[in-house]
């Protein structure tokens, strides 16, 4: 695993690159640890409060520790009418956790998201950004088995 300081160093020359740096850190660590945000603030020469403000503004950046695989369920209107609630229930049951929680082994986190732009196949979930369409409760086990 790359050190967050090395990751940040790759982006300090990029104008406005702090968000790119946060994306890269999160790709490695699955979330933004407090010390990484402080280090980014120093590297990009902005107050820590401002760096933290950026990290907490965007819903795809997390300052809370998460599992290795982040599962997001779309709750926007097209997925809502297509039965997203049943998919939520099936995922919660399969993983034994509630939305917003992480499995005790640190393997999966469940999160809500708004539209992910795959509305030709609602309801949609994504795992680490990869979309799965036309998800039904009985497909959940098969999808999870790949992780």
């Amino acid at each position: 695993m790359a050190d967050y300081k090395d990751i940040i160093a790759r982006y300090t020359a990029v104008p406005g690159g702090i968000i790119e740096a946060f994306h890269a850190i999160q790709k490695e660590m699955s979330y933004l640890p407090e010390e990484a945000i402080i280090a980014a603030a120093e590297a990009f020469k902005v107050p820590v409060a401002q760096a933290y403000g950026v990290a907490t503004f965007y819903s795809y950046l997390s300052v809370k520790s998460r599992g290795k695989n982040v599962i997001r369920i779309c709750e926007s209107a097209p997925c809502h009418v297509a039965g997203a609630a049943e998919v939520v229930a099936a995922l919660e049951k399969a993983l034994g956790i509630k939305m917003g929680e992480t499995t005790p082994d640190g393997k999966f986190t469940l999160e809500f998201t708004e539209c992910v732009g795959q509305c030709q196949a609602t309801p949609v979930i994504t795992i680490n950004g990869k979309p799965y369409g036309d998800v039904t409760p009985d497909k959940v086990a098969g999808i999870l088995a790949a992780y």
């Binding site: 968000i19 503004f57 209107a77 009418v81 708004e114 539209c115 509305c119």
Partner: protein, 407 residues
């Protein structure tokens, strides 16, 4: 039945997006060459003549916008492609970028030449990491071929903030800040990214440009509806038989879209409502389905064309349930900068939850109408101004659904 007309999606399914030679063999990058043989003012005049209007939802005349940036003296100018499509039910920009990325680059480069910018950014939403990869590969191919000349394109990835589709919030995000909209004026063509003149156009807008330069503004101005010419890429979702993407002339009616191209309602059910333009669009009842989809005709019926999402609901759908979910969306996505939106979206969601739970009264409906009216004029940016639209239009057209739940 009317037929599709593919201008933006001219290469859809015909070329390999990751083989630049396919695009070039299909006539790609000839328009850029042509534009560079013209004067900057003539390129802008051609785009103005086409009457191409923004495809992201605001419908502003693209050539006029470019002319503002062209007219400003500056040591640096920027071209930004808004690929932050976040309107629920919309995925047209993804389809365009995944299938024909060079059409977007070519449009950006023509814009860059016209206004005098040598740097472009594509701000692609964080929900599309796979599109970001594809764009970066396609840009590398364009650079290797040298087709873009001095024009450089860089991709920046958003991080899940709907408000960043608003152009000044998007600019803030590229600068590495929270994506909060700026006060306007100054508008981005005068002072945008890092204070420099900046053109922000939607993916679909840019994808039209090369065809306009190649075939002429008059040709484009003659397609579809006169006041909003050309085609529109629409994404059909919800209870429609064909949940798919289509491109149609802008004088096509909503009825043709849903019952012709869309194949009607699923499972033999009846139509109840359609929400067009994304989650901030108005809800449209059966009686208004013969309206053409162009910008001005939609505005005239209190709806919008917006991003071109077409979200169809059948007779079994509970409008209050759907609108409550939408109100929750706006409460979540409000950036919090201005009070009318921060407070308004929260109170609207509270009231919708109350109505949905069966505890609402006629007074609450009146309060929502009043609150919505205030938000639509007092909010700083389009997010807050449009947020009450689903509530207000459903109270107008689907009042029975509300009344059935009131105390």
């Amino acid at each position: 039945m009317a037929e599709e007309m593919r201008v933006v999606l001219r290469n859809y399914g015909k070329i390999d997006p990751l083989n630049i030679d396919d695009y070039i063999n299909a006539g790609g990058y000839k328009a850029l060459e042509k534009a560079r043989s013209m004067s900057q003012a003539d390129v802008i005049a051609e785009v103005r003549k086409s009457n191409l209007r923004g495809r992201g939802g605001a419908g502003f005349n693209a050539g006029m916008k470019w002319n503002f940036a062209y007219g400003v003296q500056a040591d640096q100018k920027y071209v930004i492609c808004n690929a932050d499509e976040g309107e629920p039910g919309t995925y047209k920009d993804r389809i365009i970028m995944e299938n024909d990325p060079h059409a977007v680059f070519e449009g950006m480069a023509i814009c860059g030449y016209a206004i005098g910018a040598n740097k472009g950014y594509i701000y692609c939403r964080g929900e599309y990491p796979y599109v970001v990869d594809l764009l970066n590969q396609a840009i590398a191919q364009a650079k290797a071929k040298g087709v873009l000349g001095e024009f450089d394109i860089e991709v920046r990835m958003g991080a899940g903030a709907y408000v960043c589709g608003e152009e000044t919030a998007l600019i803030e995000s590229i600068e590495g800040h929270r994506g909060e909209p700026r006060y306007k004026p100054p508008f981005p063509p005068v002072s945008g990214l890092w204070g420099k003149p900046t053109i922000v156009n939607n993916v679909e807008t840019f994808a039209n440009v090369a065809q306009i330069i190649e075939k002429g503004g008059d040709w484009y101005a003659g397609l579809g509806a006169a006041s909003y010419p050309g085609t529109k890429v629409l994404t059909l979702t919800g209870d429609v038989v064909n949940r798919t993407v289509i491109e149609v002339p802008t004088n096509t009616t909503i009825r043709e879209v849903i019952f012709g191209f869309g194949g009607g309602i699923r499972d033999g059910k009846k139509f109840k409502a359609v929400q067009i333009g994304g989650t901030s669009g108005g809800f449209i009842p059966e009686s208004l389905l013969d309206t053409p989809i162009d910008f001005d005709s939609m505005t005239a019926i209190g709806a919008v064309l917006g991003s071109g999402a077409v979200f169809v609901m059948d007779e079994t759908r509970d409008i209050v349930d759907v609108v409550e979910r939408i109100a929750g969306f706006f409460e979540h996505e409000s950036c919090g900068k201005c009070a009318p939106c921060r407070e308004g979206t929260m109170r609207m969601y509270e009231l919708m939850k109350k109505v949905k739970s069966g505890k609402g009264t006629v007074k609450d409906i009146e309060l929502m109408k009043k609150l919505g009216g205030v938000m639509s004029v007092a909010c700083l940016c389009g997010l807050g101004q449009a947020a009450p639209s689903p509530v207000l239009t459903t109270i107008t057209h689907f009042r029975a659904d509300y009344d059935a739940k009131l105390q």
